[in-house]
């Protein structure tokens, strides 16, 4: 039914991460920071959500950063320049909105979450909001988007778990130091994007400092338009659909234990698919 979405550029960012620039004029025009697309890259493929890492309405392009973790993301990673992504739909979800009265927003990006963070902090920067970012990776070779983020942040700290580059430790360790420095200053906000344990840890930390925080949730979903209800999350004791109500939610109200559990629903099948 679809002719596919052409891959104009592919760039390897780390041994397991690629950046793709895709031709998708309508999506590029409609996209806002923090939104996502759903893609399918194989004739028998799954539909998976991927955050929009950049968009250019003039060029008609959308950029996504994909880390190879499961069967579908590996198939995606194997695509080449000039090839096509079979299906791509979006932009989906609600764009990021900073809280009112935010004077300083600290973006925290874990792993390839840094890619999703980029359009959010760039747009804040363009609106004149002061932004800082803390990004983290296992080790030096897995650090991404330092250059891009550096250009739009007043302050950028890169952390590595093994200390092979930048700050040695987790993004939360680094964020804690920064929150200590900023203690007493009002108008500070945090937005965190990354693996679930990292976002959960950030939420726990910022709650202790009473710093308003949003996280970007990406639960298992199929259609991305509210039809399947697979992406339901509990926020402030209310059931929300991450695809249409999110992806951003108040980190201090999210039931992370439920998110983690629901994220593992297909762990066995995913392992079987990787082996297949």
């Amino acid at each position: 039914m679809s002719q596919g979405f052409r891959i104009l550029k592919k760039e390897r960012l780390t041994p397991v991460t690629n950046r793709f620039v895709l031709e998708a004029p309508w999506v590029a025009r409609a996209a806002r920071p923090g939104q996502f697309v759903i893609v399918r890259v194989h004739e028998h493929g799954e539909r998976i959500p991927v955050t929009i890492a950049d968009f250019d309405p003039a060029q008609g392009t959308v950029t996504v950063v994909v880390q190879e973790v499961g069967r579908t993301s590996k198939l995606f990673g194997a695509l080449t320049e000039g090839g096509v992504v079979l299906d791509l739909v979006g932009p989906l979800g609600e764009p990021f909105r900073a809280g009112r009265g935010g004077k300083l927003v600290i973006g925290v990006g874990g792993g390839f979450g840094a890619a999703a963070l980029y359009p959010v902090v760039r747009s804040l920067h363009q609106q004149g909001v002061k932004v800082e970012a803390i990004i983290g990776a296992r080790s030096r070779e897995f650090v991404i988007l330092e250059g891009e983020l550096g250009r739009v942040c007043e302050r950028l700290t890169t952390c590595t778990d093994d200390g092979s580059y930048g700050f040695r430790g987790f993004v939360t360790d680094c964020l804690k130091l920064r929150l200590e420095e900023l203690k007493g200053q009002d108008g500070v906000e945090v937005v965190a994007v990354g693996p679930m344990p990292m976002m959960r840890a950030v939420a726990g930390l910022t709650a202790a400092y009473h710093v308003p925080t949003q996280v970007s949730l990406d639960p298992i979903m199929i259609d991305g338009t509210g039809m399947c209800g697979g992406c339901r999350v509990t926020v402030a004791s209310e059931v929300k659909f991450a695809c249409v109500d999110g992806p951003f939610f108040d980190a201090h109200q999210v039931d992370f234990a439920e998110c983690v559990r629901r994220g593992k629903m297909y762990a066995c099948e995913e392992a079987a698919a990787r082996a297949a």
Binding site: M1, S2, W26, V27, A30, R40, H42, H44, G45, E46, R47, R71, T72, L86, D87, L88, V89, G90, P91, L92, I222, D223, T225, G226, M227, C228, G229, G230, R232, T234, V239, V244, E258, R261, R262, K264, M265, Y266, E269, E270, A272, A273, A276
Partner: protein, 461 residues
């Protein structure tokens, strides 16, 4: 006058035990001889009451006459003239509460199997159609955008194309068909039938664009502004699942029927890992609700390998809304039915997986606002049914993605408000029909609305 059978001619079908493990179609279809015989059971009444029961006015008496005479092409033409989806409606319409209910034969015997015959003439035509090599028709009339490719949208598209309009259908998913694709299983509506319908629309010059969510990818203003569409028809259906709002509903192993069926029908989870989308179905499954979707989910669960599947419904057998045939097929295949049973809580393990469904026994009280007896707790103590998968099939509501910012008047429950005769919304040039307007209803009502809207659009533009 030849003797007529008091009973319907039986529909040949796969044996229940075999079919309950495969997604192949259950009903195998009439032979020509059976079809002619069954059509000859029609009394050719002076005043065909059956036709009053058809929401789209199929000339039933005339098409049955042609079919009885073996003039199947002519019979097909008569049905197709009334609505464009005979192969589908012959399979999924609730005939027992429409045409067949009013059949004069039904007063004393069994009604004529109008649904089976509608299906037969459509299948006969598909099998005997000569391959056309002509390129898609070129249209030059006013451009019309159709939002959603379910029964309402496809019908409106076909009618408008025939009237000379340039028609573009936008679909959010990666394949067209809407609920016919993601909702109704292969064993009830083979996707080859749907694919054929879509190919025919393309041959009429209809353009189908998948992967576009109107309201997200492209707005109504853009459609009617820079893109130059003179009119828009919204047939976005009722795709938002309702949940029970009981404790434990977010446990692993609880699905909306939409998710459960979409994984199977659209994503082909029954072919995992060849198809990449999985679906976890435990050995004991409960399905809450008793409509067609609940039957589809229960029967699909059996086919996915479940050993015990039960339908749990707070009312009784009399109040259930499923088609008679689906209910009978479900019973034949071994689905259990637990009437007057209201789910109160989903019970889970320490790991957060479903292990049971706590239920409250109910009884029927005074009629409620729907006119049906209101179910109320019977006073008997609650009990727990051990299960490992729960499918919630208690209905759907219209999706608000498009109406949220589109300046369209909606009812409090989310349905679009339209003018009774033209189906035009509060925004001039924007029409709507099907479940998006009525709430969850039937394929034939949606098709009927698509047809009426097409006529109204044609009259105005």
């Amino acid at each position: 006058m030849p003797l007529k059978s008091v009973s319907k001619t039986a529909m040949p079908q796969q044996p229940p035990r075999e079919r309950a493990r495969t997604f192949d179609e259950v009903n195998l279809g009439y032979t020509e001889a059976r079809a002619r015989y069954e059509a000859s059971r029609c009394l050719q009444c002076q005043e065909p009451a059956c036709e009053a029961g058809c929401p789209v006015g199929v000339p039933i008496r005339a098409f049955l006459k042609e079919a009885a005479d073996g003039l199947f092409q002519e019979a097909f033409g008569l049905v197709k003239g009334a609505h464009p989806l005979p192969a589908m409606c012959g399979r999924v319409c609730p005939q027992e509460s429409q045409c067949e209910k009013l059949c004069h034969m039904a007063a004393r015997f069994e009604p004529v199997a109008i649904g089976h015959l509608e299906r037969f003439v459509a299948d006969w035509e598909r099998a005997h159609r000569e391959a056309k090599t002509t390129p898609p028709a070129k249209r030059s009339g006013p451009a019309v955008a159709i939002v959603g490719s379910g029964p309402a949208g496809l019908t409106a598209a076909g009618e408008l194309a025939k009237l000379g309009h340039r028609v573009t259908v936008f679909e959010a998913l990666h394949e067209p068909g809407g609920v016919l694709r993601y909702g109704i299983p292969e064993f009830r509506l083979p996707k080859a039938v749907l694919d054929d319908e879509i190919e025919q629309l393309k041959a009429l010059g209809v353009e189908i664009v998948c992967n576009v969510v109107i309201g997200k990818t492209i707005g109504l203003d853009q459609l009617m502004g820079e893109m130059g569409f003179r009119a828009v028809f919204i047939g976005t259906g009722a795709g938002l699942p309702r949940f029970l709002s009981i404790p434990g509903e977010n446990l692993n192993g609880v699905y909306s029927a939409n998710e459960f069926l979409t994984r199977i029908n659209l994503m082909k989870a029954y072919r995992f890992p060849v198809a990449h989308t999985p679906l976890k179905v435990g050995s004991r499954v409960a399905v809450v609700g008793a409509g067609n979707t609940a039957m589809d989910a229960a029967r699909s669960a059996l086919r996915m390998g479940a050993s015990e599947v039960r339908v749990v419904y707070r009312r009784s057998e009399q109040e259930m809304s499923a088609r008679e045939e689906e209910y009978h097929h479900a019973i034949e295949e071994g689905v259990l039915f637990q009437w007057l049973t209201n789910p109160a809580r989903v019970v889970g393990s320490n790991e957060g997986c479903v292990t049971g469904l706590e239920c409250q026994p109910m009884r029927l009280g005074e009629p409620d606002e729907s006119g049906r007896p209101r179910p109320e707790p019977s006073g008997e103590p609650p009990f727990i049914v051990p299960i490992d998968t729960l499918v919630v099939a208690i209905g759907t509501r219209p999706n608000r993605l498009l109406t949220k910012g589109g300046g369209l008047a909606t009812a409090s429950w989310g349905g679009l408000i339209v003018s009774d005769d033209s189906l035009e919304t509060s925004r001039p040039g924007v029409f709507a029909g099907g479940d998006a307007v009525t709430g969850a209803a039937t394929v034939i009502l949606a098709a009927g609305a698509g047809r009426r809207a097409a006529a109204a659009i044609h009259a105005k533009f």
